[in-house]
Amino acid sequence: MSTYAQKKGFGATLWDFLTTVDHKKIAILYLIAGGFFFLVGGLEAVFIRIQLAVPNNDFVSAGLFNEIITMHGTTMIFLAAMPLVFAFMNAVMPLQIGARDVAFPFVNALGFWLFFFGGIFLNLSWFLGGAPDAGWTSYASLALHSKGHGVDFYILGLQISGIGTLIGGINFLVTIINMRAPGMTYMRMPLFTWTTFVTSALILFAFPPLTVGLVLMMFDRLFGANFFDPTLGGNTVIWEHLFWIFGHPEVYILILPAFGIFSEIFPIFSRKRLFGYSSMVFATVLIGFLGFMVWAHHMFTTGLGPVANAIFAVATMAIGVPTGIKIFNWLLTMWGGSVKFTTPMHWAMAFIPSFLAGGVTGVMLASAAADYQYHDTYFVVAHFHYVIVGGVVFAVFAGTHLYWPKMFGTMLNEVLGKITFWLFFIGFHLTFFIQHFLGLWGMPRRVFTYLPGQGFDAANMVSSIGAAFMGLGVIVMLYNIIITSVKNVKVGNDPWGDGRTLEWAIPSPPPFYNFKQLPLVRGLDAYWLEKMDGKKGMTPAEPLGDIHMPNSSFLPFMMAMGLFIAAFGAMYHVNDKAWALPVMIIGLLVTFGSMFLRSVKDDHGFHIHKEDLMDEEDKGVKA
């Protein structure tokens, strides 16, 4: 496989990725695109911290600052964290359940391209008259009055990438329900698969409210409706509700896969079964469930009234319980294990106190009365960065190091990995710890500057220095990736030596059909069980036979691109541009034409024949 790939020219490789429906390649696409947007969002963060490093700074203007913070938040949540999490779900989940691909490979590719084009659309706003500037929450009272097309870019871009996320989530659900290998019961699924499952269910229920909100906002801004305009009988609070009914589950959509990755890392490097597996599953489901009952904790100060505030405050605090269960289980997994301090394990161990701090401030914020004091100060900024960076971003770094060999067949350098870790870890706490105090001292969030002599100067400087450390850590990791790829030293099935789940039982990277014969799963940690019985690999559950594979297709790219084009038309239609309507129609034609083609043209895929599979085995022996 790999020699075959190397012989291909650049054009052929590019075409391969543009048309692929293979979950492993789509994972790589998500990793690259998500990584790119992470760098863009990171750059924006650095600009924010430069502007705030000293009082009365004029590095950027107030208006530009609003654009930068809006794009930083939006990019990081929707275009960096989500796709990076999706990258690992795509790369690992089908392997963990012993499947040859996801249930709908074509839809998987479509989901990626929709996300990608949505993200590009959103970011093109920088070059086309200004980025959105109403905050990542885009509250209607601000957004409806934002001049220019910035907020339109937000609405249409998120709508397109949101569809991609939604169909991706549905795809994962169907895959996990229907495509588990023989013997892989629900209660034998690795925890990362479980968290993928619950996350996908959250996506299924949380994205429709966002879609509805964005549609209403689109009508308000582009087609003259008044859903959110109180002067004309609308209600601006409805947007806040719709946004947070989506928004709070969204933060759990991000953190649950992170929990999943850490739940893989702790057992692997403690060389001990995950403590309390069934309580972990229970806690995951419970968090998913409660995640839908708490959204109004973001709106305590909008005047919902004491009864509503009390109900949502108590519900919010209840989430701390299942989260606590998880923390104790991870600690007890390490307890008495023979711990190996690899790079992923560094991230995992640092995650516990960091995330815990974020959870504790979360419970503080959840006390509605106290939140009147904290709300819209840097205390909130500190809270959500502790949970999102200390939880999700740490997990993305950990997962990158852990799964790099599985995705690319090479091992990232451990020394550089640890340097990245220490730089980022120190930088993270330097940046955000002090922000708790800035908030308590009264510094409001989303301000572009502050006056000297208010007691904010030193703390802001410290915070900005921390950001530089984080930036350095990321640069070291990029360097690590480059030298690892250049050296290109291939590794075997189980490069960490202590892999427990099915993905470590097959080559790195796996052949495009994943499993020559579907494995028989005899319990939790299926591969570990076989290793303990002295076997080298999994026992096959079926005789060697033909494998049915889907064909590559360029249509997903076309469908997504059509919507991308149509979005420009819809947006400039407002300015009475003559070309706007035709552009919109052409775009929609491209999308619906591609869908029509897909529907009428039968594509039955192809078979890998038994004989070819045996051939490859012989070749493998010779090489």
């Binding site: 659900l173 329900i177 229907n178 495509m179 023989p182 269910a201 299924l204 229920f205 409210p209 209600n235 609070v237 409805i238 509700h241 009914i245 839908f292 009952m293 109004a296 919902l304 009234g305 509503a308 559950a541």
Partner: protein, 111 residues
């Protein structure tokens, strides 16, 4: 995939069993079809007959609609059959999330 045994090896047994099953299924479908028409008639007459206030007819019609949806799901879309645990789980979760949203909107935004 592997957990669905379509054939028992003896084709005759299978066909006879299926025929019986299908007849039973048909009966259920007809009964619920008749019931649904009946419910629809009731709904129409509730509006048609003078003397009921809107405070009675509107909730009453909604109630009938819910009953019909359940019939539809269970008898026509085969949710009563085995192997529909996952769809029903997701359906009910969706209903729950939707209900919480509507409850919140009706209690703290609109009224």
């Amino acid at each position: 995939m592997a957990n669905q045994q379509l054939n028992s090896g003896n084709p005759r047994v299978d066909i006879e069993y299926r025929r019986k099953k299908n007849a039973e299924e048909m009966r259920y479908q007809l009964v619920s079809f008749a019931l649904m028409i009946f419910l629809t008639l009731i709904a129409f007459s509730a509006v048609y007959i003078k003397g009921f206030t809107a405070w009675f007819t509107v909730p009453f019609i909604i109630l009938l609609a819910v009953v019909q949806v359940i019939f539809q799901l269970y008898y026509f879309m085969h949710m009563s059959h085995k192997g529909h645990e996952a769809p029903s789980l997701f359906l009910y979760s969706g209903v729950l999330v939707g209900a919480v949203t509507i409850l919140a909107f009706t209690t703290i935004i609109w009224w």
